[in-house]
Symmetry: C2
Subunit: 339 residues, 2 copies
Amino acid sequence: MSAKPKAHLAPGIEDIRQAAIRLAPVAVKTPMLESPFLNELAGRRVLVKAEVLQRTGSFKFRGAWSAISALDETARARGVIAYSSGNHAQGIAHAASLHGISATVVMPADAPAMKLSNTQALGATVVTYDRVGGESREAVGEALALEKGLTLIKPYDDTLVIAGQGTCGLEIAEQAVAMGVDSADVLVCCGGGGLSAGIALALEADGPGFRVRPVEPENADDTCRSLVKGARVSNIGTPDSFCDAIVTPMPGELTFPVLQRLAGPGLTVSDNDVLNAMKLAMLRLKLVVEPGGCVALAAALRGESIQGDAVVCVVTGGNVDEQLITQALEVESIDPALG
Amino acid sequence: MSAKPKAHLAPGIEDIRQAAIRLAPVAVKTPMLESPFLNELAGRRVLVKAEVLQRTGSFKFRGAWSAISALDETARARGVIAYSSGNHAQGIAHAASLHGISATVVMPADAPAMKLSNTQALGATVVTYDRVGGESREAVGEALALEKGLTLIKPYDDTLVIAGQGTCGLEIAEQAVAMGVDSADVLVCCGGGGLSAGIALALEADGPGFRVRPVEPENADDTCRSLVKGARVSNIGTPDSFCDAIVTPMPGELTFPVLQRLAGPGLTVSDNDVLNAMKLAMLRLKLVVEPGGCVALAAALRGESIQGDAVVCVVTGGNVDEQLITQALEVESIDPALG
């Protein structure tokens, strides 16, 4: 067993394996899916890691459980706090509730209605902040943590959270190889980079033939541009995107060096690519995926700058309101059989 | 290894285990999912076996692969034929194509558009018949089989098909126990009874604390009424139901004696129950489920005549056209948080 990781460092592979042991009794081992229809459209095999089926409807439960389950009993009993656009919020709320402890979550007042109401229903106390007006969620979260003695669990710049997300990468390596694929680009929907970095670290150890490539919306491509520049750069302003789950100001301090070392070039997709991928996910994979959780599948279907006979992509979250599901179903499909 | 099963008998547990071995390299081991929101609504744990994630979007791939993979090489090379409302059709088309053999499928002319086009796209030759006018698919299928030397693979009254569907039951026993549930009603969407019988036989061996209960639409409740009467009775006329996948004239010859011996009382649900379950499957489980694949979840949520702290249900198919997805999203939800 490894020593407890330092909170200011990216996790090592042993931290990810320990997180996998803590997650095993509670997390869903999400399936890797494939559709002959999507393969045909993409011109190569498309393996889809279905993290929308994770508890709370996104991979974020992995990091939340990893962090909360590793706290010492005294700190844990005082409760936890997080800031989140909604999926980390639900992961923290549910993981805290399963541990029988309290959770406070700082969320943007304009987060999707389903994410706000789910987080409360899962037992957390929700405090909203003014995202659009530029209020800092970090400042709100850190002030509350200090005031109430709560442990702050950051959405991506946290060693134990990255280790938890990395467990998804261990599964990808195992499942893709079992399906006959041992080298491919692994496209990952990317906000702050916790999942991308975690998967990259897991694959470095367990799947050296695989390479993570972060995927972002065109107007929130901070990670793509940072990788090109070789240094962290911000998004311009506060991008207005329906990919709310992955719009973060800039890559994380812990996550970016990992991506710089291990990831391939980033990819971007348009809103229309995303709506199309959502429609195909519903009709071909039977999965409901939110916009921010669908950018990697959108890039896989577009296929631009991807090489090889196969590509892996992670559909990361499915917490979407009805109105957006209907909007996606109405889009003119890139699949001529669907129209 | 068991001897090859007789085609006119229900399979034994060894036939189901052999089918599982043949399926292991190709089939999806579908996850067992749970949502705290659905548990809350149902007043007990609801474990959902997500067969919509099986290849071709329904459990039918299991039976199709089981049957085709067990044929001797000479018979297999001549090709196979099936009749089906659409899901068995796709299972047969895809399993045949993966084996590199031809498949002919007899389908009702009024089958959902997606099922007709998918079956063709998966490589089968589709022959339509006039279901509403009372033309017999069995007669059409048997005539074509004879004429062309094809092996007929029936949708449920076939030993190897029932054995294939039974592999779902082996997984249910293993997964439910791993989630802390070792006795419960297992609700199964029921048409001809192939899946219900297969699961019942698997659970008899591997999960004696579980009991299958077939679920049907109110106006196509032939299995329910047959179980009450102790003999096979037909539906009245040709029920007009959007649960097309499970509207069959009467329980199967091979399947009914199994259900009579092993299943608990049947359950029925209304169209509104089904639409509600479809909406909740999308928003709470992130799964797209077709009406006929959702009756078991609908019964689990209604809870009528179910006992115990947990219930298992199988969502069996997800091949649904957009318009029905939208219709389900528009229904007034039984979940007050969704409206």
